[in-house]
């Protein structure tokens, strides 16, 4: 028998009590529902399509230590990102200003060097007091249409953090329940889309108040000790579940590097992403040492708010794949404890103040892809070939003189996943850290002077593999008035990687006025380019890589590919070794056997393949061994 000893909730003198397994389940469900509904209130109420259609938001309850108790499941970029904001504004208000958090305060915050994922992800926090004691925050952030950067909507080529956004560093827009109207006017006066921002931020405040109310109801019902103790239990549970899965993977150090196109200014100068993944027992270290030096543009990823969030995301995805776990495992602070993240200061993954850091999605997506690639040899049945690992985040905009404000339409263009064990890759879905929803064309055209002329899977074929790579999309949009175009994109140079003899995918592209006399190819990053009425922008997103040898693909599946336009007869023959009669559209089994035999005998796949021998140094597994130039720390 253990002796009773008083254990307290971390950071408090509140005793941690033992909770029966049933109450624990009750409260687990209650936490989950609470956070989900905060998100639901926000996106059902909000105005800008980036929140309401794309659901680019995160919400949850965070304790005063900045530990996440629960969060809404919207887009992974906000997975576990709420706490960094809370730690950030507390540092500003309490430590630096020596001030206090009071009942009735509403805090507005977006500072990337104080925990923000990036500056347009504006955060609202409402402190939750119970009997005079601060016990938690109900907090959330969402992407606003415009944050007053030097270009409308999005921003790439900014000289520093002041050029990328209006900065809100732990501002109280309500103090003890009283709204600061002067501050509110100042905020709206300094963005291009004041009506949208006003309505969206009001919706955020409503959602945060909703979360506060629900959490207090739970405390009233079960008591503070029980609620906080249950939160501790659920954090420990999430940690336990994740560590158990990490422990099953062989110890070792695995290195991969890859290249980003450029920083959006210094064209033709690729930026290195270097990832060393070390599995040691039930912990994992991701070391980004060797990655490119911080950019002079806004192409940098805030460390606490963004790099860490992305690393947490990919660790959970790799080791605790939701599809293979029947039970609900909450995303909370426990999910972050098995990860040790290293990113040297002064790199694109940990820029130094006052570097601008608005544009960070391609970096963290490629970093996540590299983590997967580094482990693909040790856990091939749970991972996939190279993904699109990009984003093409686009701001279409224009000025409306009669309203003295802008219209801005933000669009997240989809990516693709590599072939997987037993399955082809996913086509045309958001990639990795993004999981938003697209905006209906019938909505876009209704509200903006834009016409979408094409939105389809790419014309070229799926990257061959026993399990083929997913396809990206092609999207063409015509401006019906003059305006501006900004794109945060990448992976126009390096194609997603095929593995185990699967072929590489294809890189992305942006073309202005395709097929017209003034057709021009644009790089992946465009800062506020002036666009004329009638101009068309074509965006093509990357195709992912193939997995395993296409010679082993089921010939019937190859025939289906041909019928559905994912391959043609020549590719079927050359890459897959499948002979299809072009008239009867049937597989010639004998000829296929013969062709495949010959291709295998020649020792190399019949089609172009780079696989693990591609231009990017490949992952190699080695127990406890550092390979291929990883920095030892």
């Amino acid at each position: 028998m253990k002796k009773d000893q008083k254990v307290c909730i971390r950071g408090t003198d509140i005793p941690r009590v033992k909770i029966d397994p049933v109450t624990l389940q009750v409260l687990g469900g209650a936490f989950k529902t609470l956070a989900q509904e905060m998100g639901l209130v926000l996106y059902r109420m909000s105005y800008s399509s980036i929140i309401r259609e794309s659901e680019d938001l995160g919400a949850g309850i965070v304790d005063p230590l900045g530990r996440q108790i629960c969060e809404s499941e919207s887009t992974p970029m906000h997975t576990g990102s709420v706490p960094a904001y809370v730690r950030g504004f507390q540092r500003r208000i309490i430590e630096e200003l020596g001030s206090t958090i009071e009942e009735g305060d509403v805090i507005l915050h977006n500072h990337p060097y104080y925990g923000a994922t990036h500056s347009p992800d504006v955060h609202i926090a409402v402190p939750i007091f119970h009997k005079g004691r601060l016990v938690a925050y109900s907090a959330l952030q969402a992407h606003v249409l415009d944050i007053g950067a030097h270009t409308p909507g999005l921003c790439i080529d900014a000289i520093d953090v002041w050029a990328e956004a209006r900065l809100y560093r732990g501002l109280k827009i309500y103090e003890k329940g009283k709204k600061n109207q002067q501050l509110w006017r100042h905020i709206l006066d300094n963005v291009r889309t004041p009506s949208m921002n006003e309505s969206d931020i009001e919706a955020m405040i409503t959602a945060a108040q909703f979360g506060r109310k629900r959490f207090l109801e739970l405390i009233d019902e079960y008591g503070l000790e029980v609620i906080l103790s249950a939160a501790e239990e659920w954090m420990d549970y999430a940690e336990r579940m994740l560590r158990a899965q990490i422990a099953k993977v062989p110890d070792g150090t695995y290195y991969v590097e890859s290249w980003l196109d450029d920083d959006g200014k210094n064209w033709g100068q690729p930026l290195k992403v270097a990832v060393t993944t070390t599995i040691s027992g039930d912990s994992v270290t991701i070391d980004l040492t060797g990655s490119a030096t911080e950019s002079p543009t806004a192409y940098n990823s805030p460390f606490e708010g963004c790099t860490r969030t992305a690393a947490n995301y990919i660790v959970r995805t790799v080791f605790l794949d939701e599809a293979s776990h029947a039970e609900y495992i909450p995303q909370n602070d426990g999910m972050t404890r098995a990860l040790n993240l290293i990113a040297p200061e002064g790199t694109i993954f940990n820029p130094k103040f006052p570097r601008a850091c608005f544009t960070r999605f391609p970096q963290i997506n490629l970093m996540s892809d590299c983590v997967m690639r580094s482990l693909v040899h040790v856990m091939p049945e749970r991972l996939c070939a190279g993904t699109s690992a990009h984003i093409h985040f686009v701001s279409y905009s224009g000025y409306i003189p009669e309203e003295q404000q802008y219209w801005v339409y933000l669009e997240v263009n989809e990516g693709s996943y590599g072939g997987r064990w037993g399955k082809d890759g996913m086509d045309a879905v958001d990639a990795l850290n993004a999981n938003t929803r697209n905006v209906p064309i019938e909505e876009t055209e209704w509200h903006h002077p834009l016409r979408v002329e094409r939105y389809e899977l790419r014309d070229d074929f799926r990257a061959p593999g026993r399990w083929s790579g997913g396809l990206g999309v092609v999207r063409e949009t015509r401006y019906l008035t003059d305006g501006q175009f900004t794109c945060e994109g990448d992976r126009h140079m390096e194609a997603p990687q095929g593995f185990f003899n699967g072929h590489d995918g294809k890189a992305g592209a942006i073309v202005k006025n395709p097929g017209m006399s003034d057709e021009i190819s644009w790089p992946s990053k465009i800062s506020g380019a002036a666009v004329k009425k009638g101009d068309v922008i074509r965006i093509v997103t990357p195709n992912a890589g193939g997995y395993y040898d296409p010679l082993d693909r089921d010939p019937q599946a190859v025939l289906d590919d041909v019928l559905d336009g994912y391959a043609d007869l020549a590719l079927a023959r050359d890459a897959f070794g499948v002979v299809i009669d072009g008239v009867s559209m049937k597989v010639d089994a004998a000829a296929t056997d013969a062709l495949r035999k010959a291709a295998r005998k020649s020792g190399k796949p019949s089609g172009k393949s780079s696989g693990t021998d591609g231009r990017v140094p490949a992952a190699k597994s080695g127990r406890g061994k550092v390979v291929a130039g990883a920095a030892a720390r």
């Binding site: 309401r52 579940m241 995301y313 997967m372 879905v429 999981n435 064309i441 939105y455 389809e456 899977l457």
Partner: protein, 693 residues
């Protein structure tokens, strides 16, 4: 009027017969025949006619709830379907809303990509384009190109064609051209136009709904027509009507044109059965809980009204089917739900179910895992010799073994404690689901009663009500045939809608008036076709609104009478109120946008008269069967208590039963815990009032 209601479920086909003149009601249960459900239906109908001594010729109406449409979608068993769509947009149904179903997963499936409703090879594009806001033609359609596409689809052997053009909800002309060409080139094909199936904006949802309609259309048509033929071949001269997801019944003709509106036929019937039961018991605010073997359906009745689902939540499997559906939510919690300790050491129940085969451990059919039914049996709440009227003998020893091995030992608990834990967790899952649908939408649950239905509902209802702080539980006379009852109580109902996208402040009232009039004309025409007498026809108006700039609409009622500025003002006011109620806040200064308008054509059906129960005194001893030891937890202590067991069919109106007690009937058992009190009302409802702490 004589009417029959038939609800086909996974295990049983439930039937109910009503003779209005005689005021008599009869019920019947027969095993379902999943391969061809019409066999079970015909068996049941014949049995029921024989039992009531009435011939099929004398039946006026046969109302039918069916899962055929749902199963065709869930089992990917529709026909080979083609699509003609706008050039440049071949893959709308493949890309979807580009969101992965799961955030944290590489190995997940994207159902609409793995099992496309229309394969890419059968999605053909033609050059045409309509543009907002009026549906003006930007590129005219080329009939020759359409003809070539239709011939191609015919050659490819598709049986059904979906026609899906961008902005066709504003102007159906181009889709109509394709329809005409199909009729000329391939008249045998089943055709669905997106402008007819769902004339509303959001192309992915509209295209997918239309494609689903085409996908299931031929087989639904075949089933319905075959059933209709069998009935008429057996002498039936009345009308066959089918239960719709939105909660009304519709004719065979309307149903085969829009089979996609049959997707929630079964649960919708259950919800309406709940409404009727609530009325019978005289309660206005009720939460209907229908607990079966694998799942529980929850419906909130506020003032006896069922809400409609939010249009973006209307899914079937993982496919979007943007058609009106009653707001019934389903969770994986039922008698067969499996209890286990997960790899992280946590105690869980469901959503996996032992189903009917092998079933719970106590069925003795090879199931080794402990289920909710096993827990109920171990605690003495189920009678092993009277399960489904004694047709299935239960073995408590097997339940004890399963709970001991898989739960009690691992948790260091007694078998009773573990079994109570199973009930608490499964109850909690249901509590969470009920709260999500009620409290968290602003309904004060303390003013609601819990209506317990399904085989397992009455077993759990009192514990649930207690946890939810609801004052009382209603157990209707026949809790097992809720959906069939619902079929007897529904009106004919047809939904017509149109996208407006007008601001209230600057609304073109004449257009609005014209559009409402047109929808009302369509609705009236449908009711005339269905031979609904004039005095039983009605129409109801509604509008889907949002603040300008929002992406999600709320549905509000629209007053009848002439459409004018006052109508528009009423719409705006109703919307502000609905927004306040839904989100706790209204924005009175913001512009209200009228997104869709809707008209429901309604053919009223006479309400069902239920016979009164025999009267008796307070003393229930006439129904007393025997005493049994049952485990209860009270005041934090687990105790075995001697509990009286009563036979439901022997109870009389006015009987009062003090808890602890069990009330057994053929298809269910009601648990009345210590401190609670059950009372039989005039219609035989058992109303249990819970002890207030």
């Amino acid at each position: 009027m004589k009417r029959i209601g038939v609800d086909v479920g996974g295990t049983f086909t439930d039937l109910i017969f009503v003779d209005e003149e005689k005021g008599s009601v009869a019920v019947y249960k027969t095993p379902s025949t999943p391969k061809d459900p019409s066999i079970g239906v015909m068996n049941g109908v014949r049995q029921l006619c024989a039992q009531t001594g009435s011939s099929l010729e004398t039946i006026d109406n046969l109302f039918h709830g069916t899962t055929i449409a749902t199963n065709l979608v869930l089992q990917h068993a529709g026909v080979k379907t083609g699509m003609v769509t706008t050039e440049g947009f071949r893959d709308i149904i493949h890309i979807g809303r580009h969101k992965r179903p799961l955030n944290f997963s590489i190995t997940q499936d994207i159902p609409w990509q793995t099992h496309p409703v229309v394969k890419r090879r059968h999605r053909l594009t033609v050059r045409e384009r309509l543009i907002p806001p009026t549906g003006e033609v930007l590129h005219p359609i080329d009939e020759a190109e359409v003809r070539a596409a239709v011939r191609q689809l015919r050659e490819d052997g598709v049986e059904s064609i979906a026609v899906c053009f961008l902005f066709s909800f504003l102007n159906p002309a181009h889709e109509q051209v394709v329809k005409r060409v199909i009729q000329e080139e391939y008249p045998e094909a089943y055709v669905s136009l997106s402008s007819e199936v769902l004339p509303q904006f959001r192309e992915y949802e509209r295209f997918t709904t239309t494609a689903l309609n085409a996908f299931i259309g031929p087989k639904v048509t075949h089933y319905v027509e075959q059933l209709s033929d069998s009935l008429h071949g057996s002498g039936f001269r009345g009308d066959l009507m089918l239960m719709q997801s939105a909660g009304g019944v519709a004719s065979v003709k309307a149903s085969v044109q829009k089979p996609v509106s049959l997707l929630m036929s079964g649960p919708a019937a259950g919800a309406l059965g709940g409404v009727w039961c609530a009325e019978l018991a005289g309660h206005r605010n009720v939460i209907v809980l229908d607990v079966g073997g694998t799942s529980a359906d929850i419906t909130v009745l506020n003032d006896r009204q069922v809400r409609m689902k939010h249009l973006l939540d209307t899914k079937i499997g993982d496919y979007s089917a943007m058609v009106p559906m009653l707001d019934v939510s389903t969770i994986g919690a039922g008698g067969g739900s499996i209890a286990y300790i997960d790899s992280g050491g946590f105690f869980r129940v469901g959503p996996n179910s032992a189903g009917a085969d092998p079933g719970p451990a106590c069925y003795g059919q090879g199931g080794k895992l402990p289920t909710v039914t096993d827990a109920n049996l171990v605690l003495g709440r189920l009678n092993p010799d009277y399960f489904i009227g004694g047709r299935l003998k239960l073995e408590p020893g097997l339940s004890v073994e399963a709970i001991e091995e898989h739960l009690a030992r691992k948790l260091d608990m007694t078998v009773e404690q573990a079994a109570l834990g199973v009930l608490k967790i499964v109850n909690n899952n249901m509590v969470q689901a009920v709260q999500k649908e009620s409290v968290r939408r602003g309904f004060d649950i303390r003013k609601f009663s819990l209506l317990a239905c399904g085989g397992a509902g009455p077993l759990h209802a009192c514990d649930l009500a207690d946890a939810l702080r609801m004052p009382s539980v209603i157990v209707p006379p026949n809790p097992g045939i809720l959906a069939a009852l619902g079929l007897m109580t529904t009106d004919l109902k047809y939904d017509f809608s149109r996208t407006e996208l007008q601001l209230a402040k600057s609304a073109d009232v004449r257009k609005l008036s014209r559009d409402f009039a047109e929808l009302e004309r369509e609705a009236a025409q449908r009711l005339v076709e269905d031979r609904v007498p004039k005095d039983r026809r009605a129409t109801e108006r509604a509008a889907d609104c949002r603040y300008k700039g929002q992406g999600y609409e709320l549905r509000v009622a629209v007053p009848g009478g002439p459409v004018n500025a006052k109508t528009v003002a009423a719409i705006a006011k109703n919307f502000h109120d609905a927004h306040e109620k839904e989100f706790g806040r209204a924005f009175l200064d913001n512009d209200v946008e009228i997104v869709n308008i809707r008209v429901n054509g309604i053919g009223r059906i006479p309400t069902l008269e239920w016979p009164k129960a025999k009267r008796g005194g307070a003393d229930p001893s006439g129904a007393f069967k025997y005493d049994r030891k049952v485990v209860f937890e009270s005041g934090g202590r687990v105790r075995q208590i001697a509990t009286k067991v009563y036979e439901r069919t022997q109870l009389k109106a006015g009987n009062v039963i003090a808890g602890p007690a069990l009330v057994e009937q053929m298809d269910s058992t009601t648990v009345i815990p210590p401190g609670a009190e059950g009372k039989v009302d005039a219609y035989g409802n058992l109303i249990v009032t819970l002890a207030r702490k």
